[in-house]
Symmetry: C2
């Protein structure tokens, strides 16, 4: 029936919109999240022009965000034989997506924060005032926790899903 196609289009559109909103709550540009949503739902790889049309965005915008997504490792460039233009396809496996995002955010955002914290610990190590010692202590605790969390995330992202997930479920039962 023709209705199913229309319905599907409507649901897709809703998903794209909401996924964009959701992304921007986590510090990911709206359009980037929407492009990701669009590609996640597409069986076939899409060209820049198809993305532009689907989301009503400019060429520059589409190009920039597509490249950004490729940079994150969430989207792959594809080539079709006999075709000059590039096509884009999203990584579809949810566990792989999770691991990629975890790794990238750690590298881009957690690592620098950790460096900051460790600097703060170092620079106050020999302070003798009450305030200085208190600050040192607090930074120490923070650095320790963030460091541990980052390391655990890294190792989680390097694990095999089939081994780790059941173990986690059991541990947190």
């Amino acid at each position: 029936m023709a209705t199913e196609v229309q319905q599907l289009a409507q649901i897709r559109e809703r998903f794209i919109g909401q996924w964009g909103t959701f992304g921007s709550a986590w510090g990911i540009p709206r359009t980037m999240a929407q492009i990701h949503a669009l590609l996640l739902m597409s069986d076939e790889s899409l060209s820049t022009d198809e993305v532009m049309d689907a989301l009503h965005i400019s060429r520059g915008n589409a190009n920039t965000n597509l490249r950004e997504l490729v940079g994150w490792g969430l989207v792959y460039k594809r080539h079709r034989r006999g075709e000059r233009r590039e096509y884009f396809e999203a990584e579809k496996d949810v566990w792989t997506i999770f691991c990629t995002v975890a790794r990238e955010r750690k590298r881009r955002e957690v690592e620098p924060a950790l460096n900051l914290l460790r600097d703060c610990v170092q620079l106050t190590a020999s302070m003798r005032t009450k305030q200085g010692k208190a600050f040192h202590k607090q930074m120490q605790k923070l650095a320790e926790f963030v460091g541990l969390a980052a390391s655990l995330m890294e190792r989680l992202a390097a694990s095999e899903r089939s081994r780790v997930i059941p173990a986690l479920v059991k541990l947190l039962a």
Copy 2:
């Protein structure tokens, strides 16, 4: 020495600035993250005016973000006897902070996303076109994973640190 006080002030300032930047990469307003950083470093609780002075921000801004932090459960209101004005103190325990943030983000952002995904699964359950079925399948996988992750986070945040952390370290060794 007088130098230590100056040095400490400088380091604190650096920490506040960077923590703000870090926060805004994760979708947390810069000022809110900075106020949190300031309170995290302060032994004594601070009044709205002290926060305003320390960060050079307006009363409205300070008030709004302080209340927001209280709303997140990361900061507590304090009263001093004989004093009319309110003072604010940050939760200092890192594990508690982590659990609070995990819970709140789940409630505010993951839960709604999960509802969206489940709606998408429902609404496409009976579709018969190739595209419809593919979409349904992809949403199903996404919903399943996000649901599991949310549930694990919730349970992690409800666990005792001393029991869970060592177990996690061992599991991911």
